[in-house]
């Protein structure tokens, strides 16, 4: 079996994909595994921030509690933006499988707009809190809150930058193998941010408003 594959790999010459059939357990695309490992390391950063919030989340230092400052309808709308952006990115990936360039760009644009709406609402919340005098310096709870939610927001910001970059790339070169790989990486990144947000809205916002 492996003999045949080696021979056919030789016949193919520079065709990279044929080499991957030589051994059974070799990953099909090393890039995606590498990117997954990056996401796992990112996951550990968020775990540390969640642990910090778990430890400091009730240290109000005479400042406001979560129940007093969290606006749950606003958070629900924000969560809806992020969830919708997840499925619109899914549509972009489905379009990429069909190599439909215009469709990919359209869905990426919609995803980016939804991400920007999410960021806009988050910045409005931050600005409102700071304006009220409840900035990250006010209490341990607020320090942990701004660190965790802010880090997530920063990730979404970079996700949008990456998304716009890929819209340009796809426009220039079409959905070739390299661009499809890039789209797959951003797909993981974007859905991963959604997973982190599940932890944030559940643990920080919903449980924070409970006594």
């Amino acid at each position: 079996m492996s003999d045949t594959n080696v021979i056919s790999a030789g016949a193919h010459g520079a065709d990279a994909s044929s080499r991957y059939y030589v051994t059974e357990h070799h990953p099909e695309q090393g890039t995606l595994l590498g990117f997954w490992l990056y996401l796992m390391s990112d996951c550990l950063i968020f775990a540390c921030l969640f642990a910090t919030y778990a430890v400091l989340g009730r240290n109000y230092a005479g400042g406001p509690s979560g129940a007093e400052i969290f606006d749950l309808p606003l958070v629900a709308v924000n969560t809806a933006f992020l969830l919708l952006s997840s499925i619109t990115y899914g549509f972009a990936m489905l379009a990429a499988q069909r190599k439909a360039v215009g469709s990919v760009q359209l869905w990426l644009a919609i995803t980016g707009v939804l991400g920007a709406c999410f960021l806009g609402l988050e910045l409005y919340e931050f600005q409102h809190l700071i304006h009220e005098g409840f900035g990250p310096w006010r209490s341990g709870f607020l320090t942990a809150f701004f660190s965790l939610v802010g880090t997530h927001g920063l990730h979404v910001t970079f996700g949008i930058v990456w998304l716009v970059t890929l819209m340009v790339q796809v426009g220039k070169h079409g959905v070739n193998a390299a661009n499809y790989r890039r789209l797959s990486c951003l797909s993981m990144f974007w859905h991963f941010l959604d997973v982190i947000w599940i932890g944030v809205f559940t643990y920080v916002y919903l449980m924070g408003t409970l006594p």
Partner: protein, 145 residues
């Protein structure tokens, strides 16, 4: 020309392996990531799994302690739904290495989160009482002034 032959041979050699892959087909370098059906199922499930916790907390359906456990349960299920339907995680992706990395991360997450909470809980439980009394006394005096 020889590529289809090679694919065929590959499929033949690992018949069981490919059968386990199901509908995932290898189109050149472009491995299919999800289908419309998968994304739709994932989306509907996550909408339900998000709406219920928000509704429970905003309308005070249960006692707070009970609500905490229930919404944490919903979050755990939703994380798995996202992993399966959006991130396309399964034991076979990337030759099983994705799952290995995920398991290692899960172990580290458990150590970081449970360790921090456990240590800090005991710090509070064992060391705070004296300090609380002190600061309580100071606060009391402060209030009287």
């Amino acid at each position: 020309m020889s590529a289809p032959h090679q694919h065929g041979h590959h499929g033949h050699a690992h018949g069981g392996h490919d059968a386990a892959h199901g509908h995932v087909d290898h189109d050149d370098h472009m491995e299919a990531h999800g289908s419309l059906k998968e994304y739709a199922i994932g989306f509907v499930l996550s909408v339900i799994l998000t709406a219920i916790p928000f509704w429970m907390v905003m309308t005070h359906q249960l006692a707070p302690e009970m609500t905490k456990f229930v919404i944490l349960g919903f979050a755990a299920v939703q994380v798995i739904v996202h992993m399966v339907y959006f991130l396309h995680m399964n034991a076979k992706s990337e030759g099983g290495w994705n799952m290995m990395a995920l398991l290692l991360t899960a172990v580290l997450l458990f150590i970081i989160l449970s360790g921090s909470i456990w240590v800090m809980y005991h710090m509070n439980a064992n060391m705070m009482p004296n300090m609380l009394n002190d600061s309580g006394a100071v606060h009391g005096m402060h209030d009287m002034q």
